[in-house]
Protein backbone atom coordinates (compact mmCIF):
# COMPACT_ATOMS: atom_id res chain seq x y z
CA UNK A 1 0.00 0.00 0.00
CA UNK A 2 1.16 3.48 -0.84
CA UNK A 3 -0.15 5.47 2.08
CA UNK A 4 0.39 3.52 5.22
CA UNK A 5 -1.46 6.02 7.29
CA UNK A 6 -4.71 5.78 5.34
CA UNK A 7 -7.34 3.61 7.02
CA UNK A 8 -10.22 4.15 4.64
CA UNK A 9 -10.29 5.54 1.16
CA UNK A 10 -13.49 6.04 -0.79
CA UNK A 11 -13.61 7.21 -4.40
CA UNK A 12 -16.82 8.21 -6.25
CA UNK A 13 -18.69 5.56 -4.32
CA UNK A 14 -22.25 5.09 -5.55
CA UNK A 15 -25.09 2.80 -4.59
CA UNK A 16 -28.42 2.45 -6.35
CA UNK A 17 -31.38 0.40 -5.20
CA UNK A 18 -34.45 -0.76 -7.01
CA UNK A 19 -37.45 -0.43 -4.76
CA UNK A 20 -41.00 -1.54 -5.30
CA UNK A 21 -43.87 0.42 -3.93
CA UNK A 22 -46.89 -1.44 -2.67
CA UNK A 23 -50.26 0.21 -2.61
CA UNK A 24 -52.02 1.79 0.33
CA UNK A 25 -55.31 0.73 1.82
CA UNK A 26 -57.47 -2.23 1.01
CA UNK A 27 -57.81 -1.76 -2.74
CA UNK A 28 -54.25 -0.59 -3.19
CA UNK A 29 -52.95 -3.72 -1.49
CA UNK A 30 -55.21 -5.92 -3.55
CA UNK A 31 -54.04 -4.19 -6.71
CA UNK A 32 -50.42 -4.62 -5.69
CA UNK A 33 -50.99 -8.38 -5.76
CA UNK A 34 -51.12 -8.20 -9.52
CA UNK A 35 -49.06 -5.21 -10.41
CA UNK A 36 -46.09 -3.66 -8.74
CA UNK A 37 -44.23 -0.48 -9.56
CA UNK A 38 -40.49 -0.14 -9.34
CA UNK A 39 -38.23 2.81 -9.15
CA UNK A 40 -34.51 3.34 -8.77
CA UNK A 41 -33.27 5.35 -5.84
CA UNK A 42 -29.69 6.37 -5.37
CA UNK A 43 -28.76 6.05 -1.72
CA UNK A 44 -25.14 7.14 -2.06
CA UNK A 45 -24.15 9.52 -4.86
CA UNK A 46 -20.51 9.37 -5.87
CA UNK A 47 -18.95 10.30 -2.56
CA UNK A 48 -15.23 10.68 -1.87
CA UNK A 49 -13.37 10.77 1.40
CA UNK A 50 -10.20 9.58 3.07
CA UNK A 51 -9.80 8.69 6.70
CA UNK A 52 -6.37 8.44 8.27
CA UNK A 53 -5.35 5.95 10.90
CA UNK A 54 -6.36 6.99 14.37
CA UNK A 55 -9.08 9.40 13.32
CA UNK A 56 -12.40 9.54 15.10
CA UNK A 57 -14.99 10.49 12.51
CA UNK A 58 -18.65 11.25 12.98
CA UNK A 59 -20.74 10.17 10.04
CA UNK A 60 -24.11 11.88 10.31
CA UNK A 61 -27.18 12.68 8.32
CA UNK A 62 -30.92 12.33 8.50
CA UNK A 63 -32.57 8.95 8.07
CA UNK A 64 -32.16 7.82 4.50
CA UNK A 65 -29.21 10.10 3.86
CA UNK A 66 -27.04 7.09 3.00
CA UNK A 67 -25.10 6.57 6.24
CA UNK A 68 -25.94 2.91 6.74
CA UNK A 69 -25.52 2.15 3.06
CA UNK A 70 -21.99 3.56 3.17
CA UNK A 71 -21.15 1.58 6.30
CA UNK A 72 -22.53 -1.57 4.69
CA UNK A 73 -20.29 -1.07 1.67
CA UNK A 74 -17.25 -0.51 3.88
CA UNK A 75 -17.96 -3.64 5.92
CA UNK A 76 -18.46 -5.87 2.87
CA UNK A 77 -22.19 -6.37 3.31
CA UNK A 78 -23.09 -4.48 0.14
CA UNK A 79 -21.34 -4.22 -3.20
CA UNK A 80 -21.28 -0.67 -4.61
CA UNK A 81 -22.92 0.15 -7.93
CA UNK A 82 -19.82 2.05 -8.97
CA UNK A 83 -16.74 3.64 -7.46
CA UNK A 84 -14.24 2.07 -5.12
CA UNK A 85 -13.61 1.70 -1.43
CA UNK A 86 -10.63 0.39 0.49
CA UNK A 87 -10.42 -0.38 4.18
CA UNK A 88 -6.98 -1.17 5.55
CA UNK A 89 -5.93 -1.49 1.92
CA UNK A 90 -8.50 -4.24 1.35
CA UNK A 91 -11.49 -3.92 -0.96
CA UNK A 92 -14.25 -5.04 1.39
CA UNK A 93 -16.79 -6.23 -1.17
CA UNK A 94 -14.16 -8.27 -3.01
CA UNK A 95 -12.36 -9.70 0.01
CA UNK A 96 -15.19 -9.88 2.48
CA UNK A 97 -13.61 -12.36 4.88
CA UNK A 98 -10.18 -10.76 4.82
CA UNK A 99 -11.76 -7.40 5.52
CA UNK A 100 -13.99 -8.80 8.25
CA UNK A 101 -10.95 -10.06 10.13
CA UNK A 102 -9.56 -6.53 10.36
CA UNK A 103 -12.62 -4.52 11.30
CA UNK A 104 -14.97 -4.40 14.24
CA UNK A 105 -18.65 -3.67 13.71
CA UNK A 106 -21.32 -2.74 16.21
CA UNK A 107 -24.92 -2.35 15.11
CA UNK A 108 -26.61 -0.55 17.98
CA UNK A 109 -29.98 -2.18 17.47
CA UNK A 110 -28.82 -5.76 17.01
CA UNK A 111 -26.56 -7.73 19.24
CA UNK A 112 -23.84 -9.99 17.95
CA UNK A 113 -23.92 -12.04 21.13
CA UNK A 114 -25.69 -15.37 21.52
CA UNK A 115 -28.98 -14.53 23.12
CA UNK A 116 -29.37 -17.55 25.37
CA UNK A 117 -25.77 -17.98 26.45
CA UNK A 118 -23.63 -16.37 29.13
CA UNK A 119 -21.59 -13.47 27.76
CA UNK A 120 -18.35 -15.35 28.32
CA UNK A 121 -19.45 -18.10 25.91
CA UNK A 122 -20.07 -15.56 23.17
CA UNK A 123 -16.64 -14.05 23.65
CA UNK A 124 -15.07 -17.46 23.54
CA UNK A 125 -16.89 -18.34 20.34
CA UNK A 126 -15.89 -15.05 18.73
CA UNK A 127 -12.32 -15.79 19.70
CA UNK A 128 -12.53 -18.99 17.67
CA UNK A 129 -14.35 -17.35 14.77
CA UNK A 130 -11.81 -14.54 14.52
CA UNK A 131 -8.92 -16.97 15.04
CA UNK A 132 -7.43 -15.11 17.96
CA UNK A 133 -4.80 -17.04 19.90
CA UNK A 134 -5.55 -17.82 23.53
CA UNK A 135 -2.78 -15.62 24.90
CA UNK A 136 -3.72 -12.63 22.75
CA UNK A 137 -7.33 -13.14 23.70
CA UNK A 138 -6.54 -13.20 27.43
CA UNK A 139 -4.51 -10.02 27.15
CA UNK A 140 -7.23 -8.22 25.17
CA UNK A 141 -9.97 -9.45 27.48
CA UNK A 142 -8.10 -8.21 30.54
CA UNK A 143 -8.05 -4.75 29.07
CA UNK A 144 -11.67 -4.81 27.95
CA UNK A 145 -12.93 -6.25 31.22
CA UNK A 146 -11.34 -3.41 33.08
CA UNK A 147 -12.24 -0.60 30.74
CA UNK A 148 -15.86 -1.67 30.34
CA UNK A 149 -16.35 -3.15 33.80
CA UNK A 150 -17.44 -6.47 32.36
CA UNK A 151 -16.58 -8.73 35.30
CA UNK A 152 -20.06 -8.81 36.81
CA UNK A 153 -21.67 -9.47 33.43
CA UNK A 154 -19.62 -12.36 32.11
CA UNK A 155 -21.70 -15.17 33.58
CA UNK A 156 -25.06 -13.65 32.74
CA UNK A 157 -27.07 -14.81 29.73
CA UNK A 158 -27.34 -12.01 27.18
CA UNK A 159 -31.13 -11.95 27.28
CA UNK A 160 -30.97 -10.80 30.91
CA UNK A 161 -28.68 -7.81 30.31
CA UNK A 162 -29.94 -4.26 30.25
CA UNK A 163 -29.48 -2.31 27.06
CA UNK A 164 -26.47 -0.45 28.46
CA UNK A 165 -24.84 -3.62 29.76
CA UNK A 166 -25.46 -5.33 26.48
CA UNK A 167 -23.86 -2.49 24.56
CA UNK A 168 -20.75 -2.71 26.73
CA UNK A 169 -20.54 -6.40 25.95
CA UNK A 170 -21.21 -5.80 22.28
CA UNK A 171 -18.39 -3.27 22.14
CA UNK A 172 -16.03 -5.74 23.77
CA UNK A 173 -17.17 -8.44 21.36
CA UNK A 174 -16.34 -6.26 18.38
CA UNK A 175 -12.85 -5.62 19.74
CA UNK A 176 -11.81 -9.15 20.64
CA UNK A 177 -9.57 -9.39 17.58
CA UNK A 178 -8.23 -5.89 18.23
CA UNK A 179 -9.23 -4.50 14.83
CA UNK A 180 -7.51 -1.36 13.54
CA UNK A 181 -10.85 0.03 12.29
CA UNK A 182 -14.11 0.10 14.20
CA UNK A 183 -17.53 0.86 12.72
CA UNK A 184 -20.23 1.91 15.13
CA UNK A 185 -23.79 2.25 13.94
CA UNK A 186 -25.84 4.11 16.55
CA UNK A 187 -24.05 2.62 19.56
CA UNK A 188 -25.72 4.90 22.09
CA UNK A 189 -29.27 4.55 20.84
CA UNK A 190 -31.76 3.99 23.63
CA UNK A 191 -29.19 4.28 26.42
CA UNK A 192 -29.57 6.42 29.51
CA UNK A 193 -27.26 9.37 30.18
CA UNK A 194 -24.88 7.49 32.44
CA UNK A 195 -24.56 4.51 30.10
CA UNK A 196 -23.90 6.88 27.21
CA UNK A 197 -21.18 8.59 29.18
CA UNK A 198 -19.50 5.26 29.96
CA UNK A 199 -19.56 4.22 26.34
CA UNK A 200 -18.16 7.58 25.22
CA UNK A 201 -15.32 7.48 27.70
CA UNK A 202 -14.41 4.02 26.56
CA UNK A 203 -14.46 4.95 22.88
CA UNK A 204 -12.30 8.02 23.49
CA UNK A 205 -9.88 5.84 25.39
CA UNK A 206 -9.38 3.13 22.75
CA UNK A 207 -9.07 5.81 20.09
CA UNK A 208 -6.40 7.52 22.12
CA UNK A 209 -4.57 4.50 23.55
CA UNK A 210 -4.83 1.95 20.77
CA UNK A 211 -5.02 4.35 17.88
CA UNK A 212 -8.15 2.59 16.66
CA UNK A 213 -9.77 4.39 13.76
CA UNK A 214 -13.43 4.87 14.60
CA UNK A 215 -16.32 5.71 12.30
CA UNK A 216 -19.43 6.54 14.23
CA UNK A 217 -22.92 7.09 12.90
CA UNK A 218 -25.29 8.60 15.37
CA UNK A 219 -28.28 10.84 15.85
CA UNK A 220 -26.97 12.03 19.18
CA UNK A 221 -24.99 15.22 18.62
CA UNK A 222 -23.47 14.98 22.07
CA UNK A 223 -21.63 11.90 20.83
CA UNK A 224 -20.23 14.02 18.03
CA UNK A 225 -19.32 17.02 20.15
CA UNK A 226 -17.52 14.94 22.73
CA UNK A 227 -15.84 12.39 20.51
CA UNK A 228 -15.47 13.25 16.88
CA UNK A 229 -12.73 15.61 15.81
CA UNK A 230 -13.93 15.27 12.30
CA UNK A 231 -17.43 15.30 10.96
CA UNK A 232 -18.86 14.12 7.67
CA UNK A 233 -22.41 15.24 7.05
CA UNK A 234 -24.49 13.51 4.42
CA UNK A 235 -27.58 14.79 2.77
CA UNK A 236 -29.51 12.77 0.23
CA UNK A 237 -26.51 10.64 -0.58
CA UNK A 238 -24.04 13.48 -0.98
CA UNK A 239 -21.41 14.81 1.37
CA UNK A 240 -22.36 18.33 2.28
CA UNK A 241 -19.72 18.89 4.89
CA UNK A 242 -16.45 17.19 5.61
CA UNK A 243 -14.18 18.89 8.07
CA UNK A 244 -13.28 19.46 11.66
CA UNK A 245 -16.15 19.61 14.08
CA UNK A 246 -14.41 22.58 15.67
CA UNK A 247 -14.36 24.36 12.32
CA UNK A 248 -18.10 23.95 12.01
CA UNK A 249 -18.56 25.43 15.44
CA UNK A 250 -16.13 28.27 14.74
CA UNK A 251 -17.91 29.10 11.56
CA UNK A 252 -21.13 29.56 13.41
CA UNK A 253 -19.91 30.65 16.77
CA UNK A 254 -19.76 34.31 15.90
CA UNK A 255 -23.24 34.00 14.54
CA UNK A 256 -24.71 33.99 17.98
CA UNK A 257 -28.25 32.84 18.30
CA UNK A 258 -30.64 35.12 20.12
CA UNK A 259 -33.54 33.32 21.73
CA UNK A 260 -36.45 35.66 22.37
CA UNK A 261 -39.72 34.83 24.05
CA UNK A 262 -42.45 37.37 23.39
CA UNK A 263 -45.50 38.04 25.47
CA UNK A 264 -47.85 37.47 22.63
CA UNK A 265 -47.93 35.22 19.65
CA UNK A 266 -47.55 36.39 16.11
CA UNK A 267 -45.02 39.18 16.38
CA UNK A 268 -43.46 39.93 13.06
CA UNK A 269 -39.90 41.02 13.24
CA UNK A 270 -38.93 43.18 10.37
CA UNK A 271 -37.02 46.25 9.54
CA UNK A 272 -33.99 45.31 11.58
CA UNK A 273 -31.11 45.09 9.16
CA UNK A 274 -28.93 42.01 9.30
CA UNK A 275 -31.27 39.88 11.41
CA UNK A 276 -32.75 36.58 10.26
CA UNK A 277 -35.41 34.53 11.99
CA UNK A 278 -34.17 30.96 11.88
CA UNK A 279 -36.83 29.23 13.90
CA UNK A 280 -40.23 29.96 15.37
CA UNK A 281 -42.24 28.06 17.90
CA UNK A 282 -45.24 29.71 19.48
CA UNK A 283 -44.09 32.85 21.23
CA UNK A 284 -40.45 31.89 20.89
CA UNK A 285 -38.22 32.98 18.06
CA UNK A 286 -34.60 32.28 17.34
CA UNK A 287 -32.66 35.00 15.54
CA UNK A 288 -29.22 35.10 14.02
CA UNK A 289 -27.18 38.06 12.94
CA UNK A 290 -26.00 37.91 9.39
CA UNK A 291 -22.71 39.63 10.07
CA UNK A 292 -20.76 41.29 12.82
CA UNK A 293 -21.49 44.85 11.77
CA UNK A 294 -24.57 45.29 13.84
CA UNK A 295 -23.75 44.56 17.44
CA UNK A 296 -25.80 42.22 19.52
CA UNK A 297 -26.62 44.86 22.08
CA UNK A 298 -27.97 47.14 19.43
CA UNK A 299 -30.26 44.45 18.05
CA UNK A 300 -31.57 43.50 21.46
CA UNK A 301 -32.20 47.12 22.18
CA UNK A 302 -34.15 47.57 18.99
CA UNK A 303 -36.28 44.51 19.65
CA UNK A 304 -36.91 45.44 23.24
CA UNK A 305 -38.09 48.88 22.24
CA UNK A 306 -40.54 47.56 19.69
CA UNK A 307 -42.03 44.46 21.34
CA UNK A 308 -43.03 43.16 24.73
CA UNK A 309 -40.39 40.66 25.68
CA UNK A 310 -40.80 37.98 28.30
CA UNK A 311 -37.33 36.49 28.13
CA UNK A 312 -34.24 36.90 26.02
CA UNK A 313 -30.93 35.08 25.92
CA UNK A 314 -27.90 34.79 23.70
CA UNK A 315 -26.56 31.36 22.91
CA UNK A 316 -23.67 29.72 21.19
CA UNK A 317 -24.99 27.27 18.71
CA UNK A 318 -24.58 23.58 19.56
CA UNK A 319 -23.46 21.25 16.83
CA UNK A 320 -26.96 19.89 16.76
CA UNK A 321 -28.48 23.28 16.11
CA UNK A 322 -25.87 24.01 13.49
CA UNK A 323 -26.67 20.82 11.69
CA UNK A 324 -30.38 21.39 11.97
CA UNK A 325 -29.77 24.84 10.67
CA UNK A 326 -27.93 23.41 7.73
CA UNK A 327 -30.77 21.02 6.97
CA UNK A 328 -33.55 23.51 7.58
CA UNK A 329 -32.16 26.38 5.67
CA UNK A 330 -30.03 24.49 3.25
CA UNK A 331 -27.14 26.72 4.19
CA UNK A 332 -24.29 26.10 1.85
CA UNK A 333 -21.00 26.05 3.58
CA UNK A 334 -18.04 27.74 2.09
CA UNK A 335 -15.63 25.21 3.51
CA UNK A 336 -13.16 22.94 1.84
CA UNK A 337 -16.10 20.63 1.39
CA UNK A 338 -15.35 17.13 0.25
CA UNK A 339 -11.74 17.40 1.28
CA UNK A 340 -10.21 15.87 4.29
CA UNK A 341 -8.22 18.05 6.61
CA UNK A 342 -5.71 15.34 7.08
CA UNK A 343 -4.60 15.36 3.49
Amino acid sequence: MQHDNIAIEVKSLRKEFKVSSSGKGFLGKLQALFHRRHKIITAVKDIDFKISRGEFVGYVGENGAGKSTTIKMLTGILVPTSGTAEVNGIVPYKNRKKNAAKIGVVFGQRTQLWWDLPVRESFDLLRVIFRVSRSEFDRQMDKLEQALDLKPLLEMPVRKLSLGQRMRCDLAASLIHNPPVLFLDEPTIGLDVLAKENIRNFLAEINREEGTTIILTTHDMNDIEQLCKRLIILEEGRIMFDGETEFLKQKFVHEKVIEVEFHEDGCVIQGIPGVTVVREQGCKKWLTLDNDNSGIGEVIGTIASQYKIKDISVKEPSVESIIRNIYDNRVRLSTPSGKSFTE
Binding site: F17, K18, T69, K72, T75, G76, I77, L78, V79, T81, Y93, R96, K97, K98, A100, A101, I103, V105, F107, R110, Q112, W114, W115, D116, L117, E121, L125, V128, I129, F130, R131, P157
Partner: protein, 266 residues
Protein backbone atom coordinates in the same frame (compact mmCIF):
# COMPACT_ATOMS: atom_id res chain seq x y z
CA UNK B 1 -8.67 -27.97 8.91
CA UNK B 2 -9.15 -24.93 11.06
CA UNK B 3 -12.48 -24.05 9.42
CA UNK B 4 -13.97 -27.38 10.49
CA UNK B 5 -12.86 -26.76 14.06
CA UNK B 6 -14.56 -23.36 13.97
CA UNK B 7 -17.82 -24.82 12.68
CA UNK B 8 -17.74 -27.56 15.29
CA UNK B 9 -17.32 -24.94 18.00
CA UNK B 10 -20.21 -23.00 16.51
CA UNK B 11 -22.31 -26.15 16.51
CA UNK B 12 -21.38 -27.02 20.08
CA UNK B 13 -22.40 -23.53 21.12
CA UNK B 14 -25.79 -23.85 19.45
CA UNK B 15 -26.34 -27.10 21.35
CA UNK B 16 -25.48 -25.33 24.60
CA UNK B 17 -27.92 -22.55 23.73
CA UNK B 18 -30.65 -25.09 23.05
CA UNK B 19 -29.99 -26.82 26.35
CA UNK B 20 -30.89 -23.61 28.16
CA UNK B 21 -34.46 -24.81 27.62
CA UNK B 22 -34.06 -28.35 28.87
CA UNK B 23 -37.57 -28.62 30.23
CA UNK B 24 -39.21 -28.43 26.86
CA UNK B 25 -36.74 -30.82 25.28
CA UNK B 26 -38.48 -34.06 26.20
CA UNK B 27 -41.94 -32.76 25.62
CA UNK B 28 -40.87 -31.54 22.22
CA UNK B 29 -39.64 -34.98 21.29
CA UNK B 30 -42.83 -36.48 22.62
CA UNK B 31 -44.90 -34.08 20.49
CA UNK B 32 -43.00 -34.94 17.34
CA UNK B 33 -43.37 -38.63 18.09
CA UNK B 34 -47.10 -38.17 18.58
CA UNK B 35 -47.32 -36.46 15.22
CA UNK B 36 -45.61 -39.36 13.45
CA UNK B 37 -47.53 -41.95 15.42
CA UNK B 38 -50.69 -40.23 14.24
CA UNK B 39 -49.49 -40.47 10.65
CA UNK B 40 -48.58 -44.13 10.98
CA UNK B 41 -51.88 -44.67 12.78
CA UNK B 42 -53.78 -43.38 9.78
CA UNK B 43 -51.73 -45.69 7.58
CA UNK B 44 -52.73 -48.54 9.86
CA UNK B 45 -56.40 -47.52 9.65
CA UNK B 46 -56.25 -47.52 5.86
CA UNK B 47 -54.34 -50.78 5.55
CA UNK B 48 -56.59 -52.62 7.98
CA UNK B 49 -59.39 -51.89 5.52
CA UNK B 50 -57.53 -52.09 2.20
CA UNK B 51 -54.61 -54.47 3.12
CA UNK B 52 -52.13 -52.83 0.76
CA UNK B 53 -51.45 -49.74 -1.35
CA UNK B 54 -50.57 -50.67 -4.91
CA UNK B 55 -48.66 -53.71 -3.78
CA UNK B 56 -47.14 -52.14 -0.66
CA UNK B 57 -48.36 -53.81 2.54
CA UNK B 58 -47.78 -52.60 6.10
CA UNK B 59 -44.19 -53.89 6.35
CA UNK B 60 -43.10 -52.26 3.09
CA UNK B 61 -44.91 -49.03 3.95
CA UNK B 62 -43.17 -48.87 7.31
CA UNK B 63 -39.82 -49.48 5.67
CA UNK B 64 -40.52 -46.57 3.29
CA UNK B 65 -41.25 -44.54 6.38
CA UNK B 66 -37.98 -45.46 8.03
CA UNK B 67 -35.84 -44.28 5.10
CA UNK B 68 -37.86 -41.10 5.09
CA UNK B 69 -37.48 -40.51 8.83
CA UNK B 70 -33.72 -41.05 8.80
CA UNK B 71 -33.18 -38.70 5.87
CA UNK B 72 -35.29 -35.91 7.38
CA UNK B 73 -33.87 -36.45 10.84
CA UNK B 74 -30.31 -35.78 9.70
CA UNK B 75 -31.46 -33.02 7.38
CA UNK B 76 -33.07 -31.28 10.34
CA UNK B 77 -29.89 -31.64 12.31
CA UNK B 78 -27.69 -30.01 9.69
CA UNK B 79 -30.01 -27.62 7.89
CA UNK B 80 -32.43 -26.61 10.62
CA UNK B 81 -31.73 -22.89 10.75
CA UNK B 82 -32.58 -22.61 7.07
CA UNK B 83 -36.28 -22.95 7.89
CA UNK B 84 -36.37 -19.50 9.49
CA UNK B 85 -33.76 -17.99 7.25
CA UNK B 86 -36.09 -15.37 5.77
CA UNK B 87 -36.39 -13.86 9.22
CA UNK B 88 -32.61 -13.47 9.32
CA UNK B 89 -32.74 -11.55 6.06
CA UNK B 90 -35.71 -9.39 7.02
CA UNK B 91 -34.35 -8.52 10.47
CA UNK B 92 -30.91 -7.72 9.10
CA UNK B 93 -29.31 -10.57 11.05
CA UNK B 94 -27.68 -11.66 7.85
CA UNK B 95 -25.61 -8.45 7.86
CA UNK B 96 -24.07 -9.69 11.07
CA UNK B 97 -23.17 -12.96 9.37
CA UNK B 98 -21.46 -11.07 6.57
CA UNK B 99 -19.15 -9.08 8.85
CA UNK B 100 -17.53 -12.22 10.17
CA UNK B 101 -14.56 -13.88 8.53
CA UNK B 102 -16.40 -17.13 7.86
CA UNK B 103 -18.56 -18.59 5.12
CA UNK B 104 -22.14 -17.30 5.47
CA UNK B 105 -23.64 -20.71 4.75
CA UNK B 106 -21.59 -22.42 7.43
CA UNK B 107 -22.57 -19.79 9.97
CA UNK B 108 -26.25 -20.02 9.13
CA UNK B 109 -26.27 -23.83 9.13
CA UNK B 110 -24.59 -24.21 12.48
CA UNK B 111 -26.31 -21.38 14.29
CA UNK B 112 -29.14 -23.53 15.57
CA UNK B 113 -29.47 -27.00 16.98
CA UNK B 114 -32.61 -28.93 16.21
CA UNK B 115 -33.69 -31.51 18.75
CA UNK B 116 -36.33 -33.03 16.51
CA UNK B 117 -33.58 -35.22 15.09
CA UNK B 118 -33.78 -37.38 18.19
CA UNK B 119 -37.45 -38.05 17.53
CA UNK B 120 -36.77 -38.80 13.88
CA UNK B 121 -34.08 -41.28 14.80
CA UNK B 122 -36.38 -43.04 17.25
CA UNK B 123 -39.02 -43.30 14.53
CA UNK B 124 -36.39 -44.30 11.97
CA UNK B 125 -34.92 -47.15 13.99
CA UNK B 126 -38.29 -48.44 15.20
CA UNK B 127 -39.69 -48.37 11.67
CA UNK B 128 -36.54 -50.01 10.33
CA UNK B 129 -36.86 -52.82 12.83
CA UNK B 130 -40.57 -53.52 12.35
CA UNK B 131 -40.50 -52.80 8.64
CA UNK B 132 -37.68 -55.32 8.09
CA UNK B 133 -39.44 -57.81 10.26
CA UNK B 134 -42.91 -57.46 8.71
CA UNK B 135 -41.65 -57.26 5.14
CA UNK B 136 -39.19 -60.10 5.73
CA UNK B 137 -36.16 -58.20 4.46
CA UNK B 138 -33.10 -60.36 4.04
CA UNK B 139 -30.23 -58.21 5.28
CA UNK B 140 -27.04 -58.93 3.41
CA UNK B 141 -23.71 -57.21 4.03
CA UNK B 142 -24.27 -55.31 0.81
CA UNK B 143 -27.56 -53.93 2.00
CA UNK B 144 -26.25 -53.08 5.44
CA UNK B 145 -23.33 -51.14 3.97
CA UNK B 146 -25.47 -49.32 1.44
CA UNK B 147 -28.17 -48.28 3.90
CA UNK B 148 -26.17 -45.35 5.35
CA UNK B 149 -25.07 -44.34 1.85
CA UNK B 150 -28.69 -44.16 0.72
CA UNK B 151 -29.66 -42.19 3.83
CA UNK B 152 -26.74 -39.83 3.12
CA UNK B 153 -27.94 -39.35 -0.44
CA UNK B 154 -31.42 -38.64 0.90
CA UNK B 155 -29.99 -36.01 3.25
CA UNK B 156 -28.24 -34.33 0.31
CA UNK B 157 -31.50 -34.30 -1.66
CA UNK B 158 -33.66 -33.01 1.19
CA UNK B 159 -30.96 -30.60 2.39
CA UNK B 160 -30.26 -29.37 -1.11
CA UNK B 161 -33.92 -28.67 -1.72
CA UNK B 162 -34.08 -26.89 1.60
CA UNK B 163 -31.07 -24.75 0.75
CA UNK B 164 -32.46 -23.84 -2.65
CA UNK B 165 -35.83 -22.79 -1.35
CA UNK B 166 -34.14 -20.89 1.48
CA UNK B 167 -32.08 -18.91 -0.98
CA UNK B 168 -35.31 -17.63 -2.51
CA UNK B 169 -35.57 -15.37 0.56
CA UNK B 170 -32.74 -13.29 -0.91
CA UNK B 171 -35.16 -12.22 -3.63
CA UNK B 172 -38.57 -12.35 -2.03
CA UNK B 173 -37.57 -11.58 1.60
CA UNK B 174 -40.53 -13.28 3.20
CA UNK B 175 -40.87 -16.83 1.92
CA UNK B 176 -42.33 -18.81 4.81
CA UNK B 177 -45.18 -20.21 2.74
CA UNK B 178 -42.80 -21.44 0.07
CA UNK B 179 -40.50 -22.95 2.67
CA UNK B 180 -43.46 -24.58 4.32
CA UNK B 181 -44.76 -26.04 1.06
CA UNK B 182 -41.47 -27.26 -0.32
CA UNK B 183 -39.91 -28.48 2.91
CA UNK B 184 -42.82 -29.77 4.95
CA UNK B 185 -45.92 -30.27 2.83
CA UNK B 186 -44.04 -31.96 0.03
CA UNK B 187 -42.87 -34.65 2.46
CA UNK B 188 -46.43 -35.90 2.33
CA UNK B 189 -45.83 -37.13 -1.24
CA UNK B 190 -43.40 -39.80 -0.16
CA UNK B 191 -45.42 -41.02 2.81
CA UNK B 192 -46.96 -43.24 0.13
CA UNK B 193 -45.37 -45.22 -2.66
CA UNK B 194 -44.85 -42.89 -5.59
CA UNK B 195 -46.55 -45.29 -8.02
CA UNK B 196 -49.97 -44.22 -6.70
CA UNK B 197 -49.58 -40.94 -8.60
CA UNK B 198 -50.20 -40.37 -12.27
CA UNK B 199 -47.27 -40.66 -14.62
CA UNK B 200 -46.76 -36.90 -14.84
CA UNK B 201 -46.36 -36.61 -11.09
CA UNK B 202 -44.05 -39.64 -11.00
CA UNK B 203 -41.88 -37.93 -13.58
CA UNK B 204 -41.93 -34.73 -11.53
CA UNK B 205 -40.94 -36.52 -8.31
CA UNK B 206 -38.17 -38.39 -10.10
CA UNK B 207 -36.52 -35.87 -12.37
CA UNK B 208 -37.61 -32.38 -11.32
CA UNK B 209 -38.24 -32.54 -7.59
CA UNK B 210 -36.49 -35.83 -6.99
CA UNK B 211 -37.70 -36.75 -3.51
CA UNK B 212 -38.78 -40.17 -4.79
CA UNK B 213 -35.09 -41.03 -4.48
CA UNK B 214 -35.22 -40.49 -0.72
CA UNK B 215 -37.27 -43.64 -0.14
CA UNK B 216 -39.29 -45.05 -3.03
CA UNK B 217 -36.54 -46.06 -5.45
CA UNK B 218 -33.92 -47.28 -2.98
CA UNK B 219 -36.59 -49.22 -1.07
CA UNK B 220 -36.86 -51.49 -4.10
CA UNK B 221 -33.28 -52.52 -3.60
CA UNK B 222 -33.66 -53.32 0.08
CA UNK B 223 -36.99 -55.06 -0.39
CA UNK B 224 -35.80 -56.98 -3.47
CA UNK B 225 -38.78 -55.69 -5.41
CA UNK B 226 -38.97 -55.64 -9.15
CA UNK B 227 -39.78 -52.55 -11.17
CA UNK B 228 -43.03 -50.65 -11.13
CA UNK B 229 -44.10 -47.23 -12.29
CA UNK B 230 -41.24 -45.31 -13.82
CA UNK B 231 -38.73 -47.64 -12.25
CA UNK B 232 -35.69 -48.60 -14.18
CA UNK B 233 -33.25 -50.81 -12.25
CA UNK B 234 -30.65 -48.05 -12.52
CA UNK B 235 -32.81 -45.69 -10.50
CA UNK B 236 -32.67 -47.99 -7.45
CA UNK B 237 -29.12 -46.90 -6.84
CA UNK B 238 -29.56 -43.36 -8.07
CA UNK B 239 -29.96 -41.71 -4.66
CA UNK B 240 -26.32 -40.72 -3.94
CA UNK B 241 -25.76 -39.35 -7.45
CA UNK B 242 -29.03 -37.43 -7.47
CA UNK B 243 -28.11 -36.14 -4.01
CA UNK B 244 -24.78 -34.80 -5.21
CA UNK B 245 -26.38 -33.15 -8.25
CA UNK B 246 -29.16 -31.51 -6.22
CA UNK B 247 -26.76 -30.32 -3.57
CA UNK B 248 -24.33 -28.85 -6.09
CA UNK B 249 -27.12 -26.91 -7.75
CA UNK B 250 -28.33 -25.70 -4.38
CA UNK B 251 -24.91 -24.40 -3.33
CA UNK B 252 -24.75 -22.54 -6.62
CA UNK B 253 -28.22 -21.06 -6.03
CA UNK B 254 -27.23 -19.98 -2.55
CA UNK B 255 -24.10 -18.24 -3.84
CA UNK B 256 -26.11 -16.39 -6.48
CA UNK B 257 -28.51 -15.41 -3.70
CA UNK B 258 -25.75 -14.04 -1.49
CA UNK B 259 -24.41 -12.01 -4.43
CA UNK B 260 -27.88 -10.69 -5.07
CA UNK B 261 -28.19 -9.70 -1.43
CA UNK B 262 -24.86 -7.91 -1.55
CA UNK B 263 -25.95 -5.87 -4.51
CA UNK B 264 -29.43 -5.00 -3.34
CA UNK B 265 -29.42 -5.16 0.45
CA UNK B 266 -32.55 -6.18 2.24
Amino acid sequence: MEAIKIYLTLFATSIKARMEYKASFLFYIFAILSFYIGQIGLLFVLLSRFHQIKGWAMGEMIFLYSLHAFAYGFTNLIFSQLVNFDKMVVDGEFDRVLVRPLSPLGQVMFSKFEVSTAAHLIIGFTALYYGSHLAGIVWTLNKALLFPVIVGGGVLIAGGIRLMVTAVAFWTLRNQSLVHTVIFSSKEFINYPVNIYNIGMQFFLTFIFPIAFINFYPAHFFLDRSGEGLLHPALEMGTPIVGIIVFTISIFTWKVGVNHYQSTGS
